[in-house]
């Protein structure tokens, strides 16, 4: 068996397979299908300072090899997470990473501060790229200044592994990644969803209540792989790759492009056991290619 252990900053993952925020609930929703302890970790859904109801229904429409969503960060807030969810997650030995969002830099800082004391939260993923909320979110993620300022504030509040999740809706994602690295981020994860839109031509109205939404799924994978490749050449910190990973082959594709770890998102909806199948594939792949340590293949391209 090859070594699948990878490190993201000071965070050690038993394998590179993580779940993408907002696609895996709090993990528990998938406990009937898989052994959660077989994952490198799971990234729990986007958490904000205050509870949020998210956007109106309809929030989803299927598109060719993908889907548009406009959930809008519906969640019960960081206090609820700390008091109700976190204790339940302690039963799993996979890493628990909390994805955080905010409408202001101060929001981000406060959420990070509140999570910092939790022993088993060894990393947070800062979402500066959500296309589905009115203020904050993607606004911070589309300029180097915005991305840097959020990273700086969170870095001061959270001493453990800090991952910043980047938006693909930019001219140069490498520039954003460098700005985030310069402010002390331990890692970047990419890509969040591409901003998209679909129209019901018979009813002559958008499918989503918010008109536009975030595109995910296999359709976006070529864009995601390209961006992971560009960013991994541009920064020294480890890159976490995501965007349309449907199976083990796709996961390896991201690692060859430069990802140290990967996140599985939309595929969880289609195959709730896909994450552990990817772990199995990684073992097979390493054996087939004589790879002793999966870190060897990271960034081969």
């Amino acid at each position: 068996m090859a070594n699948l252990n990878v490190n993201i900053g000071n965070l050690s993952l038993k394998n590179p397979v993580l779940t993408a925020s907002g696609t895996f609930g709090y993990g528990e929703e998938f406990a009937d299908f898989i052994d959660l302890n077989r994952l490198g970790g799971f990234i729990v859904k986007g958490t904000t300072l205050e509870p949020r109801q998210g956007n109106d229904y309809p929030r989803m429409v299927e598109t060719p090899s993908g889907m548009l969503n406009a959930v809008g960060l519906q969640n019960k807030g960081v206090e609820y997470f700390i008091s109700e969810i976190y204790p339940r997650l302690l039963q799993y030995d996979s890493e628990i990473i909390v994805n955080i969002s905010g409408s202001s830099i101060d929001d981000y800082r406060k959420v990070a501060e509140m999570l910092a004391p939790l022993d088993r939260i060894r990393a947070i993923e800062v979402n500066i790229s959500c296309p589905n909320v009115k203020s904050g979110g993607m606004a911070f993620g589309t300029t180097t200044e915005g991305a840097a300022s959020v990273t700086k504030a969170v870095r001061e509040a959270f001493p453990k592994t800090l991952i910043v999740k980047l938006s693909p809706n930019v001219t140069s994602i490498a520039d954003i990644a460098r700005a985030v690295e310069a402010e002390g981020a331990d890692s970047v994860s990419l890509i969040n969803t591409l901003m998209g839109m679909a129209i019901d031509v018979e009813r002559q109205r958008p499918y989503l209540s918010t008109i536009t939404g975030g595109l995910s799924g296999a359709a976006v994978r070529p864009v995601a792989v390209r961006m992971v490749w560009q960013v991994s050449k541009a920064v020294k910190i480890p890159v976490i790759g995501l965007g349309g990973i449907m199976n083990g082959r796709d996961a390896i594709e991201f690692m060859l492009a430069g990802a140290r770890a990967i996140e599985v998102g939309t595929a969880n909806f289609i195959n709730p056991a896909v994450t552990v199948e990817i772990v199995d594939y990684m073992n097979d792949y390493c054996e087939r290619h004589g790879v002793k340590d999966i870190n060897e293949i990271v960034g081969m391209i």
């Binding site: 907002g22 696609t23 895996f24 609930g25 929703e29 998938f30 009937d32 299908f33 859904k45 109801q53 998210g54 109106d56 229904y57 309809p58 929030r59 989803m60 429409v61 299927e62 598109t63 060719p64 090899s65 993908g66 889907m67 969503n69 959930v71 519906q74 799924g217 296999a218 939309t266 969880n268 909806f269 289609i270 195959n271 709730p272 056991a273």
Partner: protein, 259 residues
């Protein structure tokens, strides 16, 4: 054997019958295991991988009936899009993958002695399993089925096994002419109403139930992705805020809804 809440597994189609224009009844058995291990409740649903890559995501389908003796699940499917059309076109013997059984199901403890089960179109599907289960609990329900015309009245003979069947058709070719909302059976008193059908129909029934102070549950079919409460796409506004239809529903007491 442990009773799982949710499983993923392959099912083999033992019979696929076109029971009306655009409607097929699929009978399926799990390739492995027993349905009785899953403690499937009336009103729950499955998430099906559609054949031939017809859709990217799974499609939610109500469980129409569970025959634990035959280890058989029935799905009533309306050809509405590429996914459901591909399902209806599957030959006997074909295998399809499902996640099951999902959602909360109907609350049978509230049925009382004389519940009314109202279904419109393909919405009649979950009422068959509900009627059978009520029978097993010694309750004989009344059914009210709505359809466009006589040829679209679905599974009437099956429903008749479990209770009296009343029908409304839009063209009057069977039962009373008009929508279910004007059927005269609604003048009788019932202990509980269970309803599944098009949204305007369910809203109209909810209004009638409120006027008559009859407890009422409806089964929603919001567009969903995951089916297990993870993606938060299929939300319905309730007295408790936005909740997932796939997990907190698909069945809601109308008192929970903001209709």
């Amino acid at each position: 054997m442990e009773k799982y809440n949710k499983r993923m597994g392959d099912f083999r189609i033992t019979e696929n019958a076109a029971i009306a224009e655009n409607y097929s009844l699929l009978k399926l058995i799990p390739v492995e295991g027993l349905l009785s291990d899953s403690a499937i409740r009336p009103g729950q649903f499955v998430q099906v991988v559609t054949p031939n890559n017809a859709t990217y995501l799974r499609r939610p389908i109500s469980i129409c009936y569970i025959d634990n003796d035959a280890n058989e699940m029935w799905l009533l499917i309306r050809k509405a899009g590429d996914g459901t059309r591909a399902l209806c076109d599957q030959p006997n013997g074909a295998t399809i993958n499902m996640i099951y059984s999902l959602g909360n199901g109907f609350d049978l403890s509230e049925a009382g002695s004389s519940p009314l089960l109202i279904g419109g179109g393909v919405g009649v599907a979950p009422l068959l399993n509900l009627g059978a289960e009520l029978n097993r609990q010694g309750i004989k329900p009344t059914f009210l089925l709505g359809a466009r015309s006589a040829k679209d009245v679905l599974l009437a003979e099956e429903f008749a096994k479990y209770g009296d069947v009343h029908v409304s058709t839009e063209d009057g070719s069977a039962g009373e002419k008009g929508l279910v909302t004007t059927n005269t059976i609604l003048n009788s008193e019932f202990t509980h109403i269970y309803c599944c059908g098009p949204m305007p129909m369910m809203k109209a029934i909810a209004k009638i139930a409120r006027e008559k102070s009859t407890p009422c549950e409806v089964s929603l079919e919001n567009v969903m992705a995951c089916g297990v409460g993870a993606c938060l796409c299929c939300v319905e506004k309730t007295t408790a805020g936005n909740v997932c239809v796939c997990k907190e529903g698909p069945v809601f007491n109308i008192d929970q809804l903001l209709w």
